[in-house]
């Protein structure tokens, strides 16, 4: 089990076994999902070359799936992108884990 997996497992277990009402449990897990999505997009975009971002937003009518693929592929091929996503997700999940330990 990798560190992200370990953290997620711990968080789900803590929430599941808590005395929170079911709706609040669901809300925590939903916010975890939303937050993770929310976090990785700006990291990815920060590694997309500026000209690709400007081309895409400057000529939206010409934006194709190939353009999307190029943006994703170029950004991800920078090794710093995956590392940053991993480190930030791990950091955030560690914070969430600590929050749950303190609050539940």
């Amino acid at each position: 089990m990798d560190d992200i997996d370990t953290l997620i497992t711990g968080i789900i277990t803590a929430v599941s076994e808590s005395k929170l009402p079911e709706t609040e449990k669901a809300d925590v897990l939903a916010q975890l999902t939303v937050g993770m999505h929310r976090l990785v997009w700006p990291i990815l975009l920060s590694h997309v070359p500026q000209y690709l971002l400007d081309d895409a937003t400057g000529s939206p009518e010409r934006f194709t799936m190939d353009d999307y693929v190029e943006m994703i592929d170029v950004a991800l091929k920078n090794p710093a992108t995956a590392k940053e996503m991993h480190d930030e997700l791990k950091g955030a999940l560690t914070e969430v884990s600590a929050l749950l330990t303190k609050s539940l």
Binding site: D2, I8, E22, E24, D27, M36, S46, Y68, P79, L99
Partner: protein
């Protein structure tokens, strides 16, 4: 006139979910990310939401390209973050294929994805309706796993059917958008206990790789999954939950 509550009092009124949201929001808007989000997020999101439609075969080839990249760069960080990257970055492409099977379950998941999308853009405000919708989506998972009206709520009943039929790819595509269901299908095929906890984990992190391998490699109606031989790991179940 009531007194303005102190910051400590305001903090204490936040739910745990609010505080989880704040943790991610702070990191998502840290440093240059805030400017990037402000400059590009809305415009790019509009573009991604409306990617031009393409044929399934074309999309499958492009998915394969991104899959190869994702596998390569996330390999050293583990399987779960790799699954998560697939989930986040491939979904707009899957949605844009004209002829991936789009049954009613796909539409259900599409609706949920849209609800999430709306909310995700608006985390600094109180997007109550979207948040409630997404919360209830998770809640329905717990309920369906508890065996209370599972079939009516969709997930558990669908999984059982899909597994029984050999999990045709149509069902996989329809179910797989949120990820959890594909893991559940794999779990069902394997006959192993598929806990609600694991179901939640799959839902959060995305489908196991088998989904995208099939999507990129086969991608046609009626193609049968060759189930992986690994057994899903166990994590504690939510009290009262049962296997799908």
């Amino acid at each position: 006139m009531s007194e303005r509550p102190s910051s400590r009092e305001r903090e204490s009124k936040k739910t745990i979910a609010d505080q989880v949201q704040a943790i991610f929001e702070r990191r998502a808007t840290k440093g240059e990310r805030k400017l990037i989000l402000e400059t590009y997020e809305t415009k790019l999101d509009a573009l991604i939401q409306k990617l031009p439609k393409e044929q399934q075969d074309n999309v499958a080839v492009k998915i394969q390209k991104i899959l190869t990249t994702i596998r390569g760069v996330f390999a050293e960080y583990g399987a779960r973050i790799t699954d998560f990257a697939r989930k986040v970055f491939l979904w707009p492409m899957i949605r844009s294929a004209t002829d991936f099977p789009k049954d009613k379950y796909y539409q259900i998941e599409l609706g949920r994805a849209k609800a999430w999308g709306e909310f995700a853009r608006d985390t600094t405000k109180t997007a109550t309706a979207e948040r409630t919708a997404f919360r209830d989506h998770f809640l329905s998972t717990a309920v369906s796993h508890a065996g209370v009206g599972g079939a009516l709520l969709g997930t558990a009943g669908i999984i059982g059917g899909a597994a029984t039929e050999g999990a045709k790819i149509g069902a996989v595509v329809g179910l797989g958008i949120q990820g959890a269901a594909v893991g559940a299908v794999a779990g069902g095929i394997l006959g192993g206990a598929y806990s609600a906890g694991l179901f939640f984990k799959d839902k959060i992190m995305g489908p196991p790789v088998v989904f995208y391998d099939l999507l990129a490699g086969a991608g046609r109606n009626g193609v049968t999954i060759n189930a992986p031989t690994n057994v899903p790991q166990q994590i504690p179940m939510i009290p009262g939950a049962v296997s799908a």
